[in-house]
């Protein structure tokens, strides 16, 4: 499970790094505008961070053991087996999807009283850790 998790986290990192390399590459190709382009990129990056509340959590390596502990709260209602009998299943998701979903509740983009309350006390590392742990559970 841990290996699978590391592999998955690695893929996520690669995907993000890949995007970064493309942007830097374009900047280097045009010498005259390199500085300007770098400055614009910085501004864009700052803007993106502001616009995307999940960006910090997405950049963090979740702590599996911490996630396992935090997830015990989720699993009172969301079944570890992935069965959904009135409350949705949350196991086996791609970490990024879970992180984004939790931030939608945390910011109020999605409205649900329990989820808004539950996410109000979760920081970036808590959310990143929940995401890596819950991804390791297989629906059965």
């Amino acid at each position: 499970v841990h290996d699978r998790l590391r592999a998955r986290a690695g893929r996520d990192r690669d995907a993000r790094d890949g995007a970064g390399r493309d942007a830097r590459g374009r900047g280097r190709r045009d010498g005259r505008h390199r500085l300007t382009a770098a400055a614009i990129l910085l501004v864009l990056a700052a803007g993106a961070a502001e616009a995307d509340p999940a960006s910090v959590a997405l950049s963090l390596q979740g702590d599996l053991a911490y996630g396992e502990y935090l997830a015990t709260e989720c699993l009172t209602c969301h079944q570890a087996s992935g069965k959904a009998e009135g409350i949705p299943a949350i196991v086996g998701w791609e970490p990024e999807f879970l992180i984004r979903t939790l931030f939608e509740y945390k910011t109020g983009a999605r409205d649900h009283q329990v989820m808004r309350m539950a996410t109000s006390v979760l920081g970036d590392i808590e959310i990143a850790s929940l995401a890596v742990y819950l991804a390791t559970l297989e629906p059965h």
């Binding site: 502990y69 570890a80 539950a118």
Partner: protein
């Protein structure tokens, strides 16, 4: 950290025992945890200890009943929304998860030798003891009431034969005959429970054409959980059928006569074909036998761990504990069990410890597909487990929201039962 207030003789005895035989040296094989009480606190704690320690901890669960009937959702049985069998759960899957389940009643605890005595005289050694015994009734908190009287005027506040007795008596109420409930003083199990029950009783009466009957609620406090939501619901669904009187109106309950169904108060007499007396409560008796309760009958705990502040080797979960801002609920007990299990694994196997955090949500059904809820997140402070974030359903919510809340409560029931007993 909370100061451990222990009487000196006890402290000296426990300290000497600890010095003489440190846990790890004493437990030559696996450390032993005995959990007493197989409900939302105990079953959850036993299951998580066995599951997460990967067999490193020897976990024994002691429970009196081979089949556990959940008190949560038992009002829905009274209201006709849930069958009885669906509230009943066995311990087979817990056994499969590595918990040794012993069906017996714990009758004695030696906190120095760390031994639990069972009703049949057998004993169980422990390194750590988890008590999750729920509540016991303080029978004489209502003059005229007793354990024997409960066979005529049921409390139905422990799920089982009492619940079925109340339902049978409700079914026998004739149109125009009344129901009287004595609602308990704080603190008690399931704060919205009596008022959800009033709603379910009203629904049963109304849906069977007994609308000339009334329900009188004689309360021993002057306000209650989700009051605005319940009172709005009663006016809407059961107009003229529910009359609630707070302690500021009725004063003391002076007497209950189960034979005639008469309740005498400072405000006058009330008579019912069904009298539901919910007495004042305290921690289940084994917590008192263990010596971990205070003068009010509840067990003080360290907000960081659910560890007893009186006996370091004991953890107390759920209704029996004094859990600060947390209500006495199945959800709370389940949440506290996870903090205790995490602490115990750290304590006994060196597993990582994390800061305690707790959660609770209580759903209540007012009428068909008219569900409401209240919830909070909690974290430990120096003094107590404190609420840090909370919500409650609003009055005037639309039918779709209420239906969704009800459906969510069904999902919660399936979820917590799987979390307690295994899936």
């Amino acid at each position: 950290m909370t100061t451990f207030t222990i009487n000196r003789r006890r402290f000296a005895a426990l300290g000497a025992a600890a010095l003489a035989a440190p846990t790890i040296a004493r437990a030559q094989t696996r450390p032993k945890v005995v959990v007493i009480g197989g409900g939302a606190g105990g079953a959850t704690c036993a299951r998580y200890l066995a599951k997460d320690s990967g067999g490193q901890i020897d976990v024994t669960l002691v429970e009196t009943n081979p089949i556990y009937a959940t008190c949560f959702f038992s009002n829905l049985y009274i209201g006709g929304f849930h069958d009885w069998e669906g509230l009943n759960h066995g311990y087979e899957k817990l056994s499969g998860a590595g918990v040794r389940v012993v069906i017996a009643t714990a009758t004695g605890i030696d906190p120095v030798k760390r031994v639990v005595t069972l009703g049949d005289g057998k004993t169980l050694d422990y390194d750590r003891l988890v008590l999750s015994p729920g509540i016991d009734m303080i029978w004489d908190s209502v003059p005229g009431y007793s354990e024997a009287a409960a066979e005529i005027a049921p409390h139905a506040y422990k799920a089982g034969p009492q619940t079925r007795l109340l339902k049978a008596k409700l079914d026998a109420v004739e149109d125009g005959q009344n129901v009287v409930m004595i609602a308990p003083p704080n603190p008690y199990r399931c704060p919205p429970g009596p008022y959800e029950r009033v709603s379910m009783i009203a629904h049963q009466l109304k849906s069977t054409g007994r609308t000339k009957s009334k329900i009188f609620v004689l309360d021993r406090k002057d306000r209650f959980s989700k009051q605005a939501l319940f009172q709005e619901g009663w006016d809407k669904h059961y107009p003229g059928m529910v009359e609630w009187y707070g302690s500021d109106i009725i004063g003391e309950i002076e007497n209950v006569d189960p034979a005639t169904g008469t309740v005498t108060t400072g405000f006058g007499d009330y008579q019912g074909a069904l009298v539901n007396v919910i007495p004042a409560q305290r921690a289940g008796v084994i917590a008192q036998i263990a010596g971990v309760t205070n003068e009010a009958g509840w067990a003080p705990v360290d907000p960081n761990s659910m560890r007893s502040t009186i006996d370091w080797n004991v953890f107390v979960l759920g209704d029996a504990s004094i859990a600060g801002d947390m209500p006495k609920s199945g959800f709370s007990a389940n949440s506290q069990a996870k903090v205790a299990a995490m602490t115990l694994r750290h304590d006994l196997t060196g597993a990582r410890a994390f800061p305690a955090r707790y959660a609770n949500t209580c759903w209540s059904l007012i009428a068909p597909e008219d569900g409401v809820k209240i919830g909070a997140q909690y974290q430990p402070t120096e003094e107590k487990i404190a609420s840090v974030s909370s919500f409650v359903s609003e009055t005037g919510e639309d039918a779709a929201t209420r239906k969704q809340t009800y459906e969510e409560s069904l999902g919660w029931y399936a979820g917590i039962v799987a979390d307690m007993f295994g899936a």
